[in-house]
């Protein structure tokens, strides 16, 4: 399975059980496209700033995740 680490306010879109401090964790099956993650997780796409796949920023939303990929999802920041 590919592992996901959701950060920032985006963790509040995931169930409490998935949250661990300031991050929330989830897994998706290999073969999932990066662009499908918002729909799977219930996170609005416009609130996502970046996807970091195995430590590198990936902008191509058609990227297919592999078995051991690790994705960090960063939020668009807000604040006053």
């Amino acid at each position: 399975m590919a592992t996901l680490e959701v950060t920032g306010h985006l963790i509040f879109y995931l169930p409490k059980a998935a949250r661990d401090g300031t991050v929330a964790r989830a897994v998706v099956p290999p073969g999932t496209a990066l662009g499908h993650l918002p729909g799977i997780l219930g996170i609005p796409q416009e609130e996502i700033q970046a996807y970091i796949v195995n430590g590198r920023s990936v902008k191509d939303l058609s990227t297919i995740l592999g078995q051991d990929d690790h994705v960090v999802i960063l939020p668009v920041i807000t604040g006053g």
Partner: protein, 627 residues
Amino acid sequence: MLEGRAIIVDLTTKCTSQLAIDERTRSQYMGGSYLGTYLWLEYSRLEVDPLSPANTLVFAPGLLTGYPIIAANRTSVVAKSPLTGLLSESTVGGYFGPKLRSSGLDAIVLRGTSPEPCYILVEGDDPSEVKLLPAGDLWGLDTFKTAETLKARHGDDVEIAAIGPAGENCVHFACITAGGSDTRAAGRTGMGAVMGAKNVKAVAVKSGKTPRPQNPKELAEMMRDLAGRIREKTQAFSAYGTAGGVISCEATGDLPIQNWKGGSFPGAARITGQAMAERGMVVGHYTCWGCPIRCGKDVILSAGDRAGQKSHGPEYETIAAFGSMCLNDDPDYVAAANDLANRLGLDTISAGNVIAFAIECFERGIIAEDICGRPLRWGDGETILYLLEEIAHRRGIGRLLSRGVRAAAQSLGPLAQEFAVHVKGLEVPFHDPRAYTSMAVNYATCMRGACHLEGLTYYVESGTYSRSNLGIESEIVPSGTEGKAEVAFKMQNFLAAFNSLGLCKFLLRAQVTPDEIAGWVRTTFGLEMSGKDLLDSGERLFNLRRLCNVALGITRKDDILPPRLLSQPRPTGKAAGVLPHLGKMLDEYYKLRGWDHEGIPTISTLKRLNLLEFVGKLGISERVLSE
């Protein structure tokens, strides 16, 4: 249509008079910060002592404030700042500005000092309708109680801008609060202290006539389109307010932690707006005049003397101030500190910086327990509440801290100056220039000292505001230097225009463009204006204020960040190891601005912006200017 008027109140003699503002002046200086600066320079000299009668205090709603335009509700307060020593301004939303506009006034100018406490009641635009009334019974009341008392006295349709005990005691970072418990504040640079020094407790404005735009149908059409975009783009903002951003800012390394020396703060998950909502703390929402976002929140307090009462919910900056900056992850104490600071009339950004600075001084043994009156501890809510009271009443350690971190550090010596975080005397707001490095050049060059709202360049870096709206072509990488000067230059010009027009900057979330805003001005006043004209007017205001700073001795040596932000990287988190290369960005920025290597506008720049006349007026020697 563009002629305007201001009321001049001489507090010393209790005389009021009217000043006609001709069409040419108003079309050039518009309103808000720009008109306020123009009027201040007409009545005061830059060398005045900020707390003396000679420091004029101007309230000026933006040009569009009060017209049927979404989020056009802000008023600027302009005076020389006791905190920075610079000509400064602070803006406030809520309902005060639209009410002032409905009275028919473009500005209220307060001169001199009242011999005894007073408040000002505005019932119209004629001098006879502006009254100075005794405020002996109000002196000492907090800002909420002051607003309640004046509403009970003059009716619910009165809107009030008031100071609390901090302003009365001339704390250098006292604010002016509008809206009572639905708090909105002209927070920064100590405008509340200037008002307190004048013995003015409040300005109360009664209802008047709603102004009509020249072409209401066309304007309504524009607003329908804008309202849809705002609703779509600000859903999370409506639900949680700015507080909803706390945990995301922590994730991106933007949230300052422990007086700017930390890198990560797991406690952010407890004090973010979403967590407060989940705990049931948030019990309501409120909005400023003419705004569908409703970013204001009501909370129930659970700590401090007012546990069980309803109050204004803490915003992002305040949560950083009394939360992560002090390593406090107890949302009840954050909310209690917010309530207390608002009642006392303290700017929460400066107050949070000052308190974190004081705790670090105590931790390092620079100030002893007998001076502090009690141990000052990280993560201790009672420490925060105690220091807020001491500062507002200038008691004990509060006397030292009430002048801000720069003055306190100067008194405490070089070691304390190493971790006193300010620019030009203004404490740094809570967006870390090591996470979004455009904020370094923005903080270094802002007109009033470290200010996030003069540039909001992190909006562009993070993608919250599209760079293409301002014609910025190069991609912006958060930790680098490429393109950052251009972002600061363009955003500062754009947002200076916001301050002239009285617009809330959260409109940026709906991707409003300079052309679009110029359309609102055209439709409202019939004034021919393009997006470029709007940006040019912002550039002119920015340079006028720079000239004021130059006249006060500001040069490149002052366009600097404090040592902690320039040379000490965050140890952990997403921004770990990043330091802003300020010198390189500053060189590029000065070139874009048409300033010389020392940061002084050149003669050709001043000619281009039609500002040369101010050189003599401000007492600047022509010898310091280069071609």
